[in-house]
């Protein structure tokens, strides 16, 4: 049911990756910080419609990368390539090379189930399971066998909820259904659920779009804290948020990645005028 076409042509084999790394090594772009993930020429088609037109993006280890850009430009699509979530869309077709720790994630040897345990995701729309709050968090650790007993599981649940800033609100009603929470609480529950399986990379698709400023601040603190150990990619429409939480920012526009760089540079000194227009609010 996967629609991914792993063409295996020489242009996108490991040979080209090696060439890319060589090229970067030559320019010194790779100096010091290793890249957790790396996308090369990623194209996505929904049927005949092309949503991404060849994205090259490096995602450095233990940093927050923000994806910004107007609605419909392909940010979510790109994010969903990073944990092969697009496999589940029948008409979606992914081309190009994406690596995790240097390994092609679309390789036959990579199991998408394992990949998604390593690359977790918080979706654009909150989607808690119609189960109890506790089970929402415990589900992932349970299927991966992360807790060896009831106490350990309780601890994982409590810690995950604390990190997502939801603990105080739900600690007395862990048995109630997760779907009974407010929209913003549900989103934090989904963040806690993603954190609970301790992935290496966490993909967040507008995690704060339904949150009030206090909860947003919570989540931003969480992101800051997670950055010590995790690699984070966050899509946001909030420029201040991108500036506050991210170290690197990529600007997407109509399926292209227009510009990527250190967040400070992008916001103070954008090279492309489309970027400038967008971040200053002049873009429609």
């Amino acid at each position: 049911m996967t629609a991914h076409t792993h063409t295996g042509t020489p242009t996108r084999s490991t040979g080209s990756l090696a060439a890319g790394i060589e090229a970067r090594a030559a320019t010194g772009a790779l100096a010091g910080a290793g890249n957790k993930m790396d996308a090369k020429g990623v194209k996505v088609f929904y049927g005949a419609k092309q949503a991404l037109k060849g994205i090259d993006l490096e995602i450095p280890d233990r940093q927050v990368t923000a994806l910004i850009g107007p609605s419909g430009c392909g940010k979510s699509t790109f994010l969903r390539c990073l944990n092969r979530m697009n496999d589940t869309i029948g008409i979606a077709r992914v081309e190009g090379l994406i690596t995790l720790d240097g390994q092609d994630i679309y390789d036959r040897e990579i199991d998408p189930v394992q990949l998604r345990a390593r690359v977790g995701m918080v979706f654009q729309k909150p989607n808690p399971f119609p189960k109890s709050i506790y089970d929402n968090i415990a589900y992932g650790p349970r299927i991966h066998g992360l807790a060896s007993g009831r106490d350990e599981m309780d601890e994982i649940v409590a810690k995950s909820l604390q990190r997502a800033g939801l603990w105080n609100e739900v600690k007395d009603r862990l048995k109630e259904p997760g779907t009974g929470l407010s929209g913003g609480q549900q989103q934090r529950l989904c963040i806690a659920r993603a954190v609970a399986v301790s992935p290496e990379v966490i993909l967040m698709d507008e995690p704060c779009s339904a949150l009030d400023p206090i909860a947003t601040a919570h989540v931003e603190e969480l992101i800051d804290e997670l950055r010590e150990n995790y690699t984070i990619v966050i899509v946001t429409h909030n420029m201040q948020q991108a500036a506050r939480v991210s170290q690197r920012t990529a600007f997407f526009h109509l399926g292209d990645m227009v510009e990527v760089g250190d967040t400070e540079d992008i916001f103070t000194n954008p090279r492309d005028e489309r970027t400038q227009g967008y971040i200053t609010g002049r873009y429609g």
Binding site: N83, M85, V113, R116, A117, F123, N127, F129, Y139, P177
Partner: protein, 436 residues
């Protein structure tokens, strides 16, 4: 202040009489629509009430039946002249004679042979069997006198229930004035008693209405449905899950989908023909057997369950699947942990509809020989058997007056069976819904 500019508030329009009239019309339309709905439901309920009252009104009397309460002498000379107590001898004795003697003892004045024969015709053919069974169960009865209840022939039961009108002229009813007088005397003596008709549930079919029971049909229906459920639920749900969650979307699966929809519309008798051709003729499976009936009915209900199951699976929001995949669940875990539990109420609805359909089905079962006259309760899936709806069909076809009330009673039993089954399914559905 002219109203040429289009983007001014339309206050004037919304407060005009014209607008108020339009609003009234809209409300009137809504009221009419609601009225149609109420009328439609009212008509449906009325029909249902008429159906139920006619069935219950005709059938409730069958749940009680009149018996003869006679003092029977278990005459050793008749049962076991040699005193050997040999079971073979005991079971071959003429027990009808014991019953006849007991009844004649009540009416010593009846002496003519034809009169005597008329008198003893009040005793059902079943009396001999029941007396024999008593003696076989307890041979010490031989040589004793005992007050026993033996079945009264159906026509007299019908007279007492008022189903045969005694005010009619003698020639236009099956029972003579003399026989009615005997019955009345027995009632006055307290030698005819009315009680719960346990034979309706304890006996198999019979030519004699007073002995005919539903046990063979009930057990046959139960066995058949067990086979149907056991096959249709796992196969139907697996097929629905595979087609909806795993199968690639291509021409072949499209074709399969179209054909499943077509199968749901195939007349049930065609499935019976299939059963006859494949299971009986090609595979040599037993005729009239619940296992074959169950397979045929399972084939018939599969499309219903698959279609309902797929609709229920499709209704589970994709975001739930993504959420589970996102934390690293495998596709099968996504289905079994999340999608299937959420789709279960809808799937069960399909199962209920399919099973209700299967329980009431007759036509395909006729094709595979389940229209047999079954006296003995089937003991297994391979035994000759019948099912409730076929039993109803056969009783409805019988000319005796006593079968009229029994037919309605059998329909009531079938409906109770159906309601019971649905109640279980609805209960299960509620259990699953609570998990949301």
């Amino acid at each position: 202040m002219t109203d040429i500019i289009s983007d001014t508030p339309k206050a004037a329009i919304y407060q005009s009489d014209d607008f108020a009239a339009r609003l009234r019309k809209r409300y009137a339309a809504e009221r009419r629509f609601k009225m149609y709905g109420v009328v439609a439901i009212g008509v449906a309920l009325g029909m249902l009430a008429i159906l139920l009252t006619s069935i219950v009104g005709q059938g409730y009397t069958a749940f009680a039946q009149h018996d003869l309460a006679l003092e029977v002498f278990f005459d050793p000379a008749e049962i076991d002249p040699q005193g050997s107590r040999d079971p073979a001898v005991i079971s071959n004795a003429n027990y009808g004679a014991l019953a006849r003697t007991a009844l004649q003892a009540v009416f010593p004045e009846v002496e003519q042979r034809t009169d005597r024969r008329r008198l003893t015709s009040m005793i059902s053919n079943g009396a001999a069997f029941e007396l024999r069974q008593m003696v076989i169960d307890d041979p010490s009865l031989i040589g004793t006198r005992k007050q026993v209840r033996i079945p009264l022939a159906s026509d007299y039961d019908q007279v007492l229930k008022g189903n045969i009108d005694r005010t009619l002229p003698e020639t236009s009813r099956k029972v003579t004035d003399q026989q009615i007088a005997w019955v009345d005397k027995l009632v006055a003596n307290g030698q005819i008693v009315n009680g719960f008709n346990w034979r309706l549930f304890a006996n198999g079919d019979s030519r004699d209405p007073e002995l005919a029971g539903l046990k063979a049909g009930l057990v046959g229906s139960l066995l058949t449905l067990m086979v149907t459920l056991g096959l249709a639920i796992p196969i139907g749900i697996s097929a629905a899950v595979y087609l909806e969650e795993f199968a690639p979307k291509n021409k072949l699966t499209d074709l399969i989908e179209v054909n499943i929809n077509n199968l749901a519309a195939v007349p049930s008798i065609v499935f019976g023909l299939l059963g006859l051709a494949v299971f009986l003729n090609a595979f040599n499976m037993p005729r009239s057997a619940p296992v074959v009936g169950g397979i045929v009915l399972a084939l018939m209900t599969l499309p219903t369950i698959i279609i309902a199951g797929r609709a229920a699976l499709k209704a589970v929001p994709p975001s739930i699947r993504e959420a589970a995949l996102g934390v690293g669940a495998s596709p099968l875990q996504v289905v079994t942990h999340h999608v299937l539990p959420l789709a279960m109420p809808g799937i069960l609805t399909g199962v209920i509809i399919g099973m209700a359909h299967a329980l009431g089905e007759t036509a395909p079962l006729l094709m595979i020989g389940m229209i047999a006259f079954i006296v003995d309760t089937p003991g297994g899936f391979g035994d000759a058997s019948t099912v409730l709806p076929v039993q109803i069909f056969m009783w409805a076809d019988s000319p005796e007056r006593g079968f009229v009330e029994r037919t309605s009673a059998a329909i009531m039993v079938l409906l109770a069976f159906l309601i019971g089954m649905n109640a279980i399914a609805v209960f299960l559905r509620k259990q699953f819904e609570r998990r949301w």
